[in-house]
Symmetry: C2
Subunit: 153 residues, 2 copies
DNA sequence: TTATAAGTTTAGGGTACCCTAAAATGTTAG
DNA sequence: CTAACATTTTAGGGTACCCTAAACTTATAA
């Protein structure tokens, strides 16, 4: 029932989720590679997550997520994608956007995340439909605004 | 000179900066109150920051910032204010905005921060001047968009 | 001025997350 | 089937940041 998990735990769950998505199961080494930590550190964390009922972990065999683990991982991933798209909208270069979406995806209040989500939705929906020209105009203006600033730098 | 400081160090520097701004100097107790940690923890950190040349700290007397400490604190504060205004723009309730600006003010890439800053500038400048009606229109539309969603909830 | 209160510091611990090195287990080629 | 290699686990450490309790310093009020 305990719903709070740390940043790091979220990272580990997301990593497991990604690897499992690709290969059906995750090895210690895979997770270690994704997160850039040593295998022994992963083992330690898997033991902990297993005790908390977030992963299924048996010594020397693979790791998978429990349903509550998957639930958290999916929520984190969703947040990540929202921030990713948001950073694109405000014209952050892609490589940086990937990295910083990862920072943003942790520890923000649900209401804040909701507003970020709406913002992204609003922009993308609006620019997909025909009607609201002023949005396209708006984005274009913002782009120009940045360009002028970049020249001045 | 080593420029990297942890989140926590940034928090401590910002806290000292704020208290010093109000009273001219900071006592251990003040900092402890601002950050919600015990005085002994503050003492430990002040010792460390003092070694790193970020604060001036003498036992039993107050704490002040060195110029490099102040530089960091000011940068953090500036970021904080940008995020604060940004969260207001996307209609995050004020109490949450204060809290989450604090999360956002750490560990984002300078380019990302730059784009956030520009976004805020663009919106506020644009809505101050007469010309670009489409911005005001845009903000209004976003507000409506959120209102509709809130009703549906 | 001195007892008491208020604030500060030290000593000793604790947790989370990370590491290396060595031991244990698993996999595979000959 | 077994030696050599790859992977995983354990054991033992380390750092950052937080705490409580007790010792110490400073401020204040009678």
């Amino acid at each position: 029932m305990n719903k709070y998990v740390s940043r790091k735990v979220e990272d580990y769950l997301k990593a497991v989720y990604e690897v499992v998505g690709n290969k059906g199961y995750a090895r210690i080494k895979d997770i270690s590679k994704v997160l850039g930590v040593k295998p022994s550190t992963v083992v330690e964390m898997m033991r902990k997550l297993s005790e908390q009922g977030l992963v299924i972990y048996e010594k020397y065999s693979g790791v998978t997520l429990t349903s509550s683990g998957r639930e958290i991982a999916e929520a984190v991933k969703k947040r990540h994608d929202t921030f990713r798209r948001f950073l694109e909208i405000i014209l952050v270069p892609e490589n940086i956007a990937v990295k910083d979406a990862h920072v943003l995806e942790h520890q923000l209040d649900p209401k804040t995340i909701l507003q970020f989500t709406r913002f992204v939705e609003f922009i993308t929906q609006a620019s997909a439909t025909e009607r609201p020209k002023f949005i396209k105009r708006w984005i274009e203006e913002f782009r120009n605004y940045c360009r002028r600033k970049d020249i001045t730098l």
